[in-house]
């Protein structure tokens, strides 16, 4: 177990190193260098001033020196200042938005699992029947439906036509301060229904298909045959013996599905006007705010890596073959 953890930790460090290298190289893709958005087409910037900027950002030094300088700052969460007119430190901008994105993704992850697991089990138990076929089609429609389109349709129906739900933001702007705690909670909930629906619908396909296929495999195993032979009820066979084993690999899938989920934030945060990191990323891209783009890319990748690492450890703790140090 200890050697397994050490090995995983080593891989974690190597991957982290790789992430820093890739995030660092992305800025040097820019034609005209990383300063071009603030220097190009700006008549106020003389060649002398440009040179001073280059010196200030250390762009005249060799790449590996620049990388090292960047790394030292990144470790302290210092990503420089935004190129946007407010020139705030990048980390301050991200810090206030990160909890919102994390909360939304956490909620939608819980919803995805709560819906996908029963659907997957149902599909596996009734494999090949019309129930399974309909589920398959519904799930694939969820996968194939462009999330931004779904978002627009929801906004149109519930926001504009029926006027049941607000169409943008996290909470009301008018009269929000005067609300009691429960009114505020209700206000948030109303604002989050549509975004959460969009974030969840697309994620159901992958997980429920996985549960279904994994369940079908497990139901063929000898110990299930044995459990049935002992006369245990079908319900108990499925929920007690099969499901537990079929769900084990889901811990790893959880880790693997993180990037997709966080990536989806860009779409639904942009459409529903939710002030999270996804929206920040989009705004930064539109404004060519390189420091913000780079910091966002780096932090999201690091968070994904941490998520994967925790999933790995969780899997090891749950699977006795690894926990007891058996090589498999």
């Amino acid at each position: 177990m200890i050697s397994f953890l050490l090995k995983r930790f080593l891989v974690f460090l190597i991957t982290l190193f790789g992430i820093t290298v890739i995030s660092f190289s992305v800025i040097h893709l820019a034609p005209g260098g990383p300063l071009s958005p603030i220097t190009d087409f700006n008549p106020k910037i003389t060649p002398e001033y440009r040179e001073r900027l280059v010196k200030m950002y250390g762009l005249d030094k060799p790449l590996y020196v620049q990388y090292w300088e960047w790394l030292k700052k990144a470790a302290k969460l210092d990503f420089g200042r935004s190129f946007s007119p407010d020139q705030r430190p990048v980390w301050d901008k991200i810090k206030e938005r990160l909890p919102i994105t994390l909360l939304l993704n956490f909620l939608s992850l819980i919803l995805i699992f709560m819906i996908s697991i029963p659907l997957g089990v149902l599909g596996a138990v009734k494999a090949g029947s019309w129930v399974d076929r309909i589920l398959t089609i519904v799930v694939f429609v969820g996968y194939a439906m462009p999330s931004f389109w779904l978002a627009i349709i929801l906004m149109m129906i519930f926001g504009v036509k029926l006027q049941w739900l607000p169409i943008s933001g996290l909470h009301s702007t008018l009269g929000y301060e005067e609300m009691t705690f429960f009114e505020k909670l209700w206000d948030w909930a109303k604002h989050l229904i549509c975004p959460l629906f969009v974030a969840t619908f697309g994620g159901i396909a992958g997980i429920s298909r996985y549960v279904r296929n994994s369940m079908i495999e497990v139901l063929k195993a000898d110990y299930i045959l044995f459990a049935r032979a002992k006369g245990i009820s079908e319900k108990e066979v499925i929920y007690k013996h099969a499901l537990r084993n079929a769900l084990l690999p889901l811990i790893t899938i959880l880790g693997l599905s993180l990037p997709g989920l966080v990536g989806g934030s860009v779409i639904f945060e942009t459409i529903f006007g939710i002030p999270g990191v996804g929206q920040l990323m989009w705004q930064a891209v539109m404004a060519r705010d390189y420091p913000v783009i780079m910091a966002n890319l780096f932090l999201v990748a690091v968070l994904t890596l941490i998520g994967n690492f925790l999933a790995d450890i969780g899997y090891a703790l749950a699977d006795p073959r690894i926990r007891l140090g058996d090589k498999h």
Partner: protein
């Protein structure tokens, strides 16, 4: 050929294949099929609801939506084909090299895949597009360069199991070079999972392209793409729902067709293979 015969036994698979062929015909013969010029602006004819003259209505600039949809299918298929072609090239080559040579090369490639997989595709694509000029070529390259990892893993695993087989050993004893063994014997035998992955990848690429166009950094107007037609339609949603309804449907049906085709191929080619 036997593959197509097998495929025709599956109803959903057949339907998907027909949809894809239909789209391909639309895309290839767009100039002959489209009733109007997709870029022609007609101010006397704006926001017309669907009618006989304009079966899918007209947009804010009086352009025929049906003609634009047909031309957009061209762009979407073009982008996804090139992007998937690129990702196949990277994925197959890296996966095959890792699986065949093993050792340090394998270790480096596997770590590289792990690292790339930590970046959410949309974030990586957005970041790259921000630094490059938004154009159709940029999108193709960026989607291709960020979507090969799953395939590389798949090919690596396939090559690992294939390289111990007898036919490879025989080829080796006859003195065939590594390159020849890889490209003549191993990769052709790893084709089934590559085919499945390509079909799923085409659907995925269409989704990413439309998302990028929707976010305003993909295919640039006036060139029509399903994604940018959708965002143009968003502005007039309340008075002209058809402007964003049809492009959305087109994306949904196309991606669905590629995904179901991929799943069906998977079932036919290897019934035991577990879904990833």
């Amino acid at each position: 050929m036997s593959l197509i015969k097998e495929l025709l036994k599956h109803r959903l698979g057949t339907a998907s294949l027909i949809i894809i062929l239909f789209l391909a015909i639309l895309a290839v013969f767009a100039p002959y099929i489209a009733p109007y010029d997709p870029l022609e602006i007609n101010v006397d004819n704006i926001l017309q609801p669907p009618s006989l003259a304009h079966p899918l209505g007209t947009d804010l600039l009086g352009r025929d939506v049906l003609s634009r949809m047909i031309y957009a299918s061209r762009i979407s298929l073009e982008v996804s084909l090139v992007a998937v072609g690129l990702s196949l090239m990277i994925g197959v080559v890296l996966g095959a090299i890792a699986g065949y040579f093993g050792g340090l090369v394998d270790l480096i490639i596997c770590r590289f895949i792990d690292i790339m997989l930590c970046f959410p595709t949309i974030f990586l694509v957005l970041a790259m597009v921000a630094y490059l000029e938004p154009s159709i070529v940029t999108i193709m390259v960026v989607i291709g360069a960020t979507s090969w990892m799953g395939l590389a893993r798949l090919v690596r695993a396939e090559i690992l199991s294939l390289k111990e087989r007898d036919f490879v050993l025989i080829a080796k004893t006859y003195g065939a070079s590594s390159l020849r063994i890889l490209f003549k014997h191993l990769i052709p035998n790893a084709l089934p999972p590559i085919l499945v992955s390509a079909s799923l990848g085409l659907g995925q690429a269409i989704l990413i392209e439309s998302a990028l166009s929707f976010l305003g950094i993909g295919v640039q107007p006036p060139i029509p793409s399903w994604g940018n037609m959708l965002i143009e339609g968003k502005e007039t949603l309340e008075v002209a729902w058809w402007l964003s309804f049809y492009p959305g449907m087109a994306i949904l049906i196309t991606v669905l067709a590629f995904t179901i085709l991929g799943e069906t191929l998977q079932e036919i080619l290897n019934p035991k293979r577990k879904e990833r």
